[in-house]
């Protein structure tokens, strides 16, 4: 089962995605994508670790190269989030650069084939304007390509609005 959970900043998307994972059995893998480079990132990581404590997740760091990740076993995977992964691939030395969307989608395909349930959290960052300069526009386009292609493949597509799930495809059947 493939599920895409999208939402804006602090929309409750992570908490909702985690509640979906808790309906599945073990093992549960959490693929963390954030590269920590300052105190704000560290605080964000800490907040999410607290949310996940006692939920029996095994955390795997995956800031880059999702297509090379080896899962220790099958089970449920929560990938959080595509916004970070796309930014890392696009801007990091050693990332996929202009082939970012393609690389991330290949990684998602491999991941989907290697687990029983894949829940992917992504970001709604497209409602703040339409006139962005080069780098930002490239990022928005790559993230949208990944979001839209994965949504087409997914069984469930859910947008979280102030903590409430709104399903655009499928439904909560995990």
């Amino acid at each position: 089962m493939l599920t895409l959970v999208l939402g804006g900043a602090a929309s409750g998307k992570s908490a909702y995605a985690e509640s979906l994972v808790l309906k599945t059995g073990l093992p549960r893998y959490y693929l963390a994508t954030m590269q920590v480079w300052d105190a704000e990132c560290a605080a964000r990581v800490e907040k999410h670790r607290k949310m996940r404590a006692q939920k029996q997740f095994e955390t795997l760091e995956c800031p880059l190269h999702l297509d090379r990740l080896a899962l220790p076993g099958r089970g449920t995977v929560l990938l959080e989030d595509l916004g970070n992964l796309v930014a890392n691939e696009l801007y990091s030395p050693g990332g996929a650069g202009k082939h970012t969307a393609e690389a991330v989608l290949t990684g998602l395909e491999r991941l989907a084939a290697g687990c029983d349930n894949l829940i992917v959290v992504s970001n709604e960052v497209f409602s703040g304007g339409a006139d962005y300069a080069g780098d930002t526009d490239q990022y928005l386009l790559a993230l949208a390509q990944v979001n839209n292609a994965f949504a087409a493949r997914a069984d469930n597509v859910c947008r979280v609005v102030c903590g409430l799930p709104v399903y655009y495809k499928g439904g909560e059947k995990l």
């Binding site: 900043a9 304007g129 102030c162």
Partner: protein, 108 residues
């Protein structure tokens, strides 16, 4: 309490006029002024005393470069989650069209 959210100028206040009771709008600005999660909780509890609470969605754009702006929209998003939890009814407006996300609309 009914919580009405949605993008800027999506018809939130116009929709709220269909209902009786006390109204407070633009609570996302108040969220941005809080400093701690506890203050945000207190704010949510106070706002829940109103019959209708209106917030503009501000978390759907590109992550701002400015740290204060980032923190402000995080707080606005978190406040919206807290209010939605407390609300009997949650409505999302989109170009003037209401979608009920939780509960039922109160009697007009």
């Amino acid at each position: 309490m009914m919580f009405i959210t949605g993008p800027l100028y999506s018809g939130k206040r116009t929709f709220a006029r269909n209902f009786r009771g006390s109204v407070i709008a633009d609570v996302q600005d108040a969220a941005a002024e809080t400093q701690t999660p506890e203050q945000l909780e207190t704010l949510a509890r106070e706002l829940a005393e109103y019959d209708i609470v209106i917030a503009t969605e501000v978390g759907g754009g590109v992550v701002p470069m400015d740290a204060e702006e980032r923190a402000g929209r995080e707080a606005a998003g978190r406040l919206a989650c807290l209010l939605a939890e407390r609300a009997d009814c949650v409505v999302q407006m989109f170009c003037g069209i209401p979608t009920v996300l939780k509960g039922e609309l109160p009697q007009c």
